[in-house]
Subunit: 288 residues, 6 copies
Amino acid sequence: MFRHTKLLQCEAKPERPDAVYARKLQELIGGAYGEMTVTMQYLFQGWNCRIEGKYKDLIMDTATEEIGHVEMLATMVARLLDGAPAEQAAAAAKDPVMAAVLGGMDPQQAIVAGGGAMPNNSQGVPWNGGYIVASGNLLADFRANVAAEAQGRLQTARLYNMTDDPGVKEMLRFNLARDTVHQKQWLAAIEELISDGLEQPIVPDALFDEEDQTHNHTIWHLSDGTDGDKGGWVGDGTDLEYLHDPEPLGGPATAPRPNPALYATYSPTMDAVGTVKGKAKKLKKKAT
Amino acid sequence: MFRHTKLLQCEAKPERPDAVYARKLQELIGGAYGEMTVTMQYLFQGWNCRIEGKYKDLIMDTATEEIGHVEMLATMVARLLDGAPAEQAAAAAKDPVMAAVLGGMDPQQAIVAGGGAMPNNSQGVPWNGGYIVASGNLLADFRANVAAEAQGRLQTARLYNMTDDPGVKEMLRFNLARDTVHQKQWLAAIEELISDGLEQPIVPDALFDEEDQTHNHTIWHLSDGTDGDKGGWVGDGTDLEYLHDPEPLGGPATAPRPNPALYATYSPTMDAVGTVKGKAKKLKKKAT
Amino acid sequence: MFRHTKLLQCEAKPERPDAVYARKLQELIGGAYGEMTVTMQYLFQGWNCRIEGKYKDLIMDTATEEIGHVEMLATMVARLLDGAPAEQAAAAAKDPVMAAVLGGMDPQQAIVAGGGAMPNNSQGVPWNGGYIVASGNLLADFRANVAAEAQGRLQTARLYNMTDDPGVKEMLRFNLARDTVHQKQWLAAIEELISDGLEQPIVPDALFDEEDQTHNHTIWHLSDGTDGDKGGWVGDGTDLEYLHDPEPLGGPATAPRPNPALYATYSPTMDAVGTVKGKAKKLKKKAT
Amino acid sequence: MFRHTKLLQCEAKPERPDAVYARKLQELIGGAYGEMTVTMQYLFQGWNCRIEGKYKDLIMDTATEEIGHVEMLATMVARLLDGAPAEQAAAAAKDPVMAAVLGGMDPQQAIVAGGGAMPNNSQGVPWNGGYIVASGNLLADFRANVAAEAQGRLQTARLYNMTDDPGVKEMLRFNLARDTVHQKQWLAAIEELISDGLEQPIVPDALFDEEDQTHNHTIWHLSDGTDGDKGGWVGDGTDLEYLHDPEPLGGPATAPRPNPALYATYSPTMDAVGTVKGKAKKLKKKAT
Amino acid sequence: MFRHTKLLQCEAKPERPDAVYARKLQELIGGAYGEMTVTMQYLFQGWNCRIEGKYKDLIMDTATEEIGHVEMLATMVARLLDGAPAEQAAAAAKDPVMAAVLGGMDPQQAIVAGGGAMPNNSQGVPWNGGYIVASGNLLADFRANVAAEAQGRLQTARLYNMTDDPGVKEMLRFNLARDTVHQKQWLAAIEELISDGLEQPIVPDALFDEEDQTHNHTIWHLSDGTDGDKGGWVGDGTDLEYLHDPEPLGGPATAPRPNPALYATYSPTMDAVGTVKGKAKKLKKKAT
Amino acid sequence: MFRHTKLLQCEAKPERPDAVYARKLQELIGGAYGEMTVTMQYLFQGWNCRIEGKYKDLIMDTATEEIGHVEMLATMVARLLDGAPAEQAAAAAKDPVMAAVLGGMDPQQAIVAGGGAMPNNSQGVPWNGGYIVASGNLLADFRANVAAEAQGRLQTARLYNMTDDPGVKEMLRFNLARDTVHQKQWLAAIEELISDGLEQPIVPDALFDEEDQTHNHTIWHLSDGTDGDKGGWVGDGTDLEYLHDPEPLGGPATAPRPNPALYATYSPTMDAVGTVKGKAKKLKKKAT
C-alpha cells in the first residue's frame, strides 16, 4: 500500500514558460526510458520478486521513488506551459517566432490536457506496458535496470543541453544525480547476486551442459568489416573465438506442403519438396 | 547491402507438429526480447555507430546473424503447424484433446498466415519499433544488448522445458549457445570501451561536476522493508549510502492557474495559489 | 512524493492456484478499465489540477489507493500461478484437462514473467497511456472517473462469477466495495462542482451563446427505429426535441482539386468542381 | 444496413487554407475522444444492446449521425490543406513564416494522404479500438458516453479558440451544439434507466449484499492533503465517511517460491517465506 | 450524411452458439483485413477523392456497404456467444470439454463486452487506423483495395472451413460472394483508370524521366536461389532483366562524427572517417 | 542465413544537413509503406512460401534487397542530422529560422537516437508487424506487394518534390527506379501465377460453387451518387451489374437476451425479442 505527500521530492520550478521544451520533456515522462517505465518496471519486479529481503527491499525503495519522479516532471511540464498560446489568430500565425512556437508545441498538451502533461513520449506516442520487463530472474532484470538508467541519464543529459532555464537545469541536475545512483546500485546489486552465489554472469544460470558446445564460444563473421576480431572479446585470455569463414549448418529453409483447407498456393505437380514439375493442369471452376 | 543463402544457420526440424507450441515460439520471434528485436536493435546501432572499426564490425556481424535467427524460428513454426487443424467440425469440438489443441493455438497462424509464423509475440501483439534502442552511446547500448540477450536466453530456457520434441530441443540448444556467446561478447565489449578510455561505467561519461552533489550517492528509504541497507551496495568500500529517513526537498506539486481559453475548472474566488475562497458566485449562461 | 508499506491494502490469498483464472484477472490489471488505468488517470488529474483544496486532495487520496490495487492484483496473479505447468511434455499434452489448462493460460505469464503478472490485459495487449484522460476540466474528468469505476465494478462482478475460490472472492468483495465507494464519491463530487458554482452540467460551461442555436436541442432520427422519441429525453419538461425527418444542411462533401506535386489522380479535363469532362487525352511518358 | 448521401450534415467550408490548423483538427477525427471514437462506440453499443426499443433506437440514431461527423471533419481537413506546401526548396526553408508552417504541419497529411485527413490524432497516433467501450450494461455505457461527449465538447471549444477562420468557426459552432445535445440526451437516458427500474446509480446493480460491508462507504486518506474531508461527499446526509488514519488490512505482498523450470532467482537456503538464510552454497556448472 | 435501417444486409443467424468460433470471427471484424478496415479505408478514400463522378460514387457505394458488414459480423458474434459460460466453477474446470471451450474463448468478449463483439482481431489486438490507406492516388488505392479484398476472401474461406454450423456458413457464403464482387470491381476500376488515360500501370504516373535509368529494369540476384530468372518476368518480351552478379553502388555506410552535446561515444583520437587511432588518452572526471 | 557488406546498394550522401527533411524521410523507413514493411513482408512471405522455385527465389531476392534500403535511408538520415541543433538556448529560440527548424525536427532523433534514424514513421509512431501480410497465398500476397510498392513509389515521389538537395534527389532517383522495377515484377508474377494455372484472378481460387450465386455479381447502390453505374465495371462485356435499389436481405440486428451473470441491462418484463413491456417492477437491494 502507498502513501503520498504533496511535497515534491525535488523542486520543479522553471524560471519562465517554454512550450517547445515542454514537449521535449515528454520523452522523460512517457518515453521508452522515461519515468513511467522505471516506475512500472520496478513495481512489477518488486511484486514478482520471489526472494524476501535486501533485493526486494531495494527494488521497492527505488520503485517508490520513481513514482515521485513522474510527479516532478508532470509538474514541471504544467509550469512550462503556463500561458502557452491557447488562442491562435491569423495575426499570430504571421509572427514567425510565435508561429515557430506553435509549430514546435505538442498539440495534445493544449487540446487534450488543457495545459498539462500527457502520458506520452515527445512524439505523442502513449506509454505502453511493452516497454517494461519483470522476468522473475533478478540478474536478467537488474541488467535491464542498468540499461534503462543509462538510457535515462543519457536522455536527461541531452535535454540538459537543450535549455538554459536555471530552474529546469536545477531539477535536471537532481535527476542526473539520481540516475547516477541508480546505475551504481544496480551494478552493485549484480555483483552481490553473483557474490551471494545466487546467479552467475550468464543468464539464466542453467543448461550450460545441454547447450550446443560447438557454437557457444564463436563469433560469426557475417559482415565484411575487418576489425571484428580486433577487440578484447577474442584472443588470449578470453573464452570466445572469432570464426572467420562461418558456413550455414542447416538445410534449406523450406515450408511444409500447403494445407488445402487453408488455400495456400500449391500445384498438383509439386514434388515432395515443393518444386513444381511442369505446368499445372488442374481444372478449376472459373469465377464468373 | 545484404546477401542471403537459403541454407539455415542451424537446422530447424521438429520431429512432429505441435500447434500449441508453435504459438509459444512466437514469443521468440516477435516478443519484446525476440529475434526481431535483436535484429533491428543491432542493425540500427550499427548504422548509427559513429566510430569505425572493431565495435561497429562486431555489431554488424551480430546483427546479420540475428536476421537468420528470425528465419530459423519462422521455419520451425511453419513446420510445427504442418497439418494443424484447419477444419473444425462439431465432432472435433467434442473431442477434448482436439478441442484443447484448438483452444491453445494461435488463431492467426491459421486464419491470417495460412499455417505460418506471424510477426507477433505469443499473445498475438505485433512486434513494434518501440522495443529497440540505438542511442549512439555504445556503452548505454551494449548494456541494453546484454539485457536483451539475458532475457532472450531466459525465455529460450523456459521454452526448452516446455517441449520434449528432440528436433525442437536441438534447435533451442543452438539458440541457448548463441545467447551465451552474445552475452559474453557484449560484456567483454563493455570492458573494452572502458579499457579503451572511451566510456566510464556511469553513462553518459559527463556532467558529473554539474549533477547534484548531495544526492548522487544516497539510496532513499521509501518502502518499509528493513533490508535495503543490508546489501553490498552500501557500507564500507562503496560510494553509496542509505538514507534512512529521507524527506522531500521540494515544495507542493501545484499546477499554474487555469487558462480561460482552455476551460479548465477555475473560480474567480481563487487566490494566488489556487485555493478557492468561499463559494463562487459567478453568473453564467445556462445551457438550455 | 510517495512512500510504500509492504502490507497489502487487503489480503490477496487464493485458496488454490488457477492458471486459467490468472489470465482473466489480467483484465483488471492492464485492461482499459483496469487498475493501471485508474492509477494513472487519477495521478495525472491530480498533478494537473489547477484548484488547490478538497477536489485535488480527494483525487490524490484515490490515486494513491489505486496504486495499491495494482499491487493486490499482481500479488494475486503470482499466487494463482504457483506451480502452474512450466514443463509441458507430450504426455501432459494428451491429458485433456492439463491440455485445456495449457490452452487457456496466458503464455507470457510463464515465458516472459516467470510466473507473475504482466502489465497487459487478458488478451496480452499492453496497457497504454491512451486509456486515460486528464483534461484539466474537473467535471469532464469526474464523469470519466464515474464511467471508469462503473466499467471496473462491472468487470469485477463478472469475474466474481467466474471463480468459486473463497480467497479470490474475498479480495473481489473488497474491490467491489471500493468501486462502489469511488462511484459514489465521483458522483457526489460532480454535484459539489455544480453546487459550488464551478461548473454546470454541460461541459465546458462556455460558448453556449456562440454555439448553433438551431441544432443544440434536436435529436436527429437517422436510424429507422420507431422508439427513439419514446424516452423521457424528449417531450414535456425536457429541452430536447426529436427531429423526425432531418435533412442534411451542407453541400456535397467534395475535396479540393489535386495538387500536381502530390500525384493524386487528376485529369486535365476536370471542371472546377472536379468532374471529368470527356476522356483524358493527355500524353504521358510510358514507363518501360 | 446503411445508406449515404453525399450532402454533409453541416457545411464544412473554411475561408482559407490553414495547414497548421488542419493538423490540430486531427484530434477531433482520430483522437481518443474524436468522432471515430463516438461512431464506433455507439455502433458497437447499439449492435450489442439486448433490449429492443427506445434505448437501442436512440443509440443507433446517434451512432449514424456520428459517421457523418467524421465525414465533415475529413472534408474540412482536405479543404484546409488546399495548396499546402507540397514542394519545399531551400529558399522556402529560409522564409521563417513558411518554415514555421512546414514545421507545424502534419507530415503524413501530405506524404501519406496526398493532402487529406488521416485516421490519426493530432500527434499522428492511429485511432484504435481500445478507445471505445460497449459493455452490454447500458448505464455503464451511457456514463462513458456522457464522459466522451464532455471531453469532445471541451476539445472542440479549445480548438474553437485557436482559429479565427469564419468557415471553421461556423462548423465548430454546429459541433458544439451537437455535443450539447448528446450530453443532455445521455444524461436524460441515465435518469430514464433508473426511473424505468432497469438500473440503479451504482453499476452494476448487483452484489451489494456480497460486497465488503465495512469498506463500501469509506474514503481512505492516503495523501497528506487536509481538505479531502471538506467536500459534500462526506458528512451529514451522505453515506460516505472519511477514514483519516487508514491502515493496511492485508499481510505482506509476497510472491510464491520460484519454480525451477522457470529460472527465477532462488536460493536453496530460502526459508518458507522466501528469506535467504546465510550465503547460498549451491554448486553450479560455470559458464565457460 | 448516413442513414441506417435495423435490417441486416444479410441474415446472420447461427444454428447454435459456439464461443470458440466467436473468437475466430473477430479476425473478420477487427483484423488487418477485416470489415472495419475496408469500411474506414473506403470512407477515407471517398472523402479524399478529388475527382467527382463514377470513381468516387463507386467508392462511396462500397464503403457504405461495408459498415453493414461490420454490423452483420457483430450480430453473429453476439449470437454465437448466447449462453456462453459466464460462470466458471471448479467443477466446470474439471470437465475437459467445458475447460477447452473456456480456454479457447476470447476472455474479453465476456468480461469486457458482456457477451458481444469487440473492435479487435482474433488475438484481442484492437483495430487501428494504421491498417488503412487513402493516398489520393486512385490507382495506388484501388490496388490496395484489391489486395484487401483478396486477403479478406481468403480469411473468410479459411473460416468457412472451420465451422459446420449451417447458419454461419450461410452468412459466410454471402460474404464470399461480396468479396468476389469487390475484387472484380476494383480490378475493373484499375483498367478503367488506365483506359481513361488517368493513370498508367506504374504508380505514380510521373518522374520516369528523372528516375535512375540504369536500375529501373533490373532484378538483383541477392539470394542464392537459382530460379529467380526462370519466371516470365524476365526474358524476351519483357522489359525487366535479371542481374546475376550485382555489386553495391555506394560507399561504406558511415555515420557522421559524434556531436559532443549528444554524448555519443567518441574518441579524441578518431580520424576524419571515424577510425580510432591508438588508445584514447582523454582524462575524465570519475563518477564517484 | 544472411551476409552483409558495408558498402551501400546506392550512395546516400546529402549535400548539406537538413534536420526538418530528416524527419520526413522517417516515413520511408518506418511508415506503413516504408522499407521496414517491405523488408519484413517479403521475408515472411519467402519463409512461408510453400512452393520451391522461381516464385520463392524472386521473393527472397527482393526481400534481401530491401534490408539494404532501410540501411540506405538510415544512413541518409544520420547524415542529414549532422550538426543539427543539439543545444537550444534562449537566443536560438528567438531566431525564427532556427526556431522553425527546431519546431519541425523529430525530437526523438536527437534525444533518443543521438542524431540518427528511429524505427518510426514521420510522426514518431513505431513501425509494427501489423503492417505486413504473408498469407501463404501467393496471388493474394503479390497483390499486397504491388499495392505496397505503389504506395512506396508515390510517397518517394512526394518526398522527391520536397527537397532540392542534389544528393538526396540522387538517392531518391534510385529508389524511384527500384519501386518501378518491383511494381513491374509483382505485376508480371501475378500474370505468371495465372498462366501457370496456380491461381485465378479471384482469390482464393475456390468455393465459387458454394458462394452465394445471387449476390456475387451485383454492385449495391447505397450512396446517392448517380455515376456508380457509369464505369466500365458494369454493362456489356462485364460480369457485374449495378443494383439500383437494393434492399436488406436479413432481419433486424438483434442481440440475444442478457445473461444474468454478465449484468447486461435487462428487464423481467422483456418479451422474447427483447422488447420491454411496461415498466420494470423488480425490487432490488439499494446500494447504500
